[in-house]
Symmetry: C2
Subunit: 310 residues, 2 copies
């Protein structure tokens, strides 16, 4: 059983109540506490030593990544983060300066986005450090962008450049909070997700939730310099296109809008942001992902990153 199968099994019959707008299965849970104009977003995300970071990395950047991943999920709903709790599980003989520096990286990013750190917990995990962030956010009522709103004919957009993140920028990425808020203020965004498992895997989450398919133009997919470089330097590296499709930890935004909005959106974006934005294909009435290039169309079977299957 892999991670996604386990999650599906665990989340099949969870208790709900009157506060739940969207439970498990999207980037954040959405709760209606009765605020007249806003809904609450709720998310947790954990980083584990040796899996999501190494202790040879600068601890401030590890802290940055721990909070940034959660902020990226708030961005994927077009929300604004408000307050976080930090759980750090660590061996009994810990390096206090290292833990303080992790906290300092969390604090710096929190200040930048006006997120309050309202406490948390330290506990023992004898073999390795684990950092879990629980984050709250707010989103204007009726404006939270779910995974389930994609429609056949939508244009598919992605921010930034994809692939090779774990060898380059995964500790330094900036969550696309401002970009996501700008998007919902200017265009009706149909579906959105942040790329944590890889373009192919995360696009499949949108397709499944929206019951649609997608056709991607391979020549349009923005491939990062790191992914191109890796394939030149290491013979065992993935080809750049495969890296862009399947590498995890890009933390870019993937979203869909009506086809008619595609060009106006791209034009307006370029006046507002330096962050690249690329139309990589369209939503279809079919199933799964089709790759189209000059030699024709073929289904994409490769999966994105799954925690337990590798």
């Amino acid at each position: 059983m892999n991670e996604f199968e386990l999650i599906e099994k665990l989340t099949r019959s969870l208790p709900a109540n009157k506060y739940v707008v969207t439970g498990s299965g999207d980037d954040c849970a959405v709760l209606d506490l009765g605020l007249p104009d806003k809904l609450l977003l709720f998310k947790t995300d954990a980083l584990v030593e040796g899996i999501h970071f190494r202790t040879s990395s600068p601890p401030e950047k590890i802290g940055h990544k721990a909070l940034a991943r959660c902020l990226s999920d708030i961005a994927a709903m077009a929300g604004t983060p408000t307050a976080a709790l930090i759980t750090i599980a660590l061996p009994k003989t810990f390096d206090a300066a290292f833990i303080e520096a992790i906290y300092s990286g969390i604090g710096a990013l929190a200040r930048k986005h006006d997120v309050a750190i309202v406490g948390g917990e330290t506990t023992t995990n004898p073999e390795r450090i684990l950092i879990s962030v629980a984050l709250l956010g707010l989103v204007p009522r009726g404006k939270a962008v779910l995974r389930s709103g994609a429609e056949a004919g939508d244009a598919i957009f992605v921010t930034g450049e994809l692939g090779g993140s774990f060898a380059s920028r995964h500790l330094e990425f900036e969550p696309r909070l401002a970009e996501a808020r700008w998007l919902i203020e200017h265009f009706p965004i149909h579906a959105m997700i942040d790329l944590s498992d890889g373009l192919a895997g995360d696009l499949r989450h949108i397709l499944k939730a929206s019951r649609v398919g997608a056709e991607l133009l391979t020549t349009s997919i923005p491939i990062s310099r790191a992914a191109k470089l890796a394939s030149k330097v290491e013979s065992s590296a993935k080809p750049p296109l495969l890296a862009a499709l399947t590498d995890g930890e890009d933390f870019e935004l993937l979203f869909t809008v009506a086809g008619k909005d595609a060009v106006p959106l791209l034009d307006a974006w370029k006046k507002e942001f330096k962050t690249p934005l690329t139309c990589i294909g369209k939503i279809t009435a079919g199933e799964g992902i089709t790759l189209r290039d000059k030699s024709g169309a073929r289904p994409l079977t490769a999966h994105g990153y799954e925690h337990f299957s590798k």
Copy 2:
């Protein structure tokens, strides 16, 4: 550096914002999102295999404990829990039925208290299972009971019986949610905490936050059957009074009220609940904890349970 010293260092200069009413340092964080009559409570709590539970225990009870600990913190603020996210970190070769049973224990307790489980995460922790619960709750505006409100002359009360929890009821305890809500509806409760680190340690949290001292009557402290039994059976066991003062994981409520309310509260409580409630002493203008018995008064120096010092 022990756990409390680390936490104090980490939480010294955390970023706050306009939403924060109470940040780190109480049972839950308290946030004001603008609801006219309510404040939001926010809490996380983690259980680690081999430290807070053993895999030889029934997995449903492990799940029960994971959520119950967090619920107990909401009770300590006199709040009502609303929604939780569950993080489970586990070895790559996991027993799916065991994890499902943990989830089932969480779900059963959640249903009992009308708590929605709105998702969460599974991730990898190669050597042992770690379960972290993030929980939200609501409390009537102005009614959240903090640790900082104890005043000299207050009577100190504790629910239930103390000590020996880890050998007996730590996997089965019921969080005192109904009791706490009843308390704030009927009496002005000055300060409250749930007992997780042990009576002495947790009372010290109230004393420190309220800048007062306490005098306990040793003969009044309700000692659990498990703590009495352990001292008879094992020669190495703590004397029962010491167990009641310093054993962790009781998850009872410790609170203070004005001296004049002590007798009316006790009378009203007995009509409402079967759960024992005991007045164990009083808040003083001094510092620290004094134990009084027939031979006189002496300061209590023993500490409660600290994660990293043992």
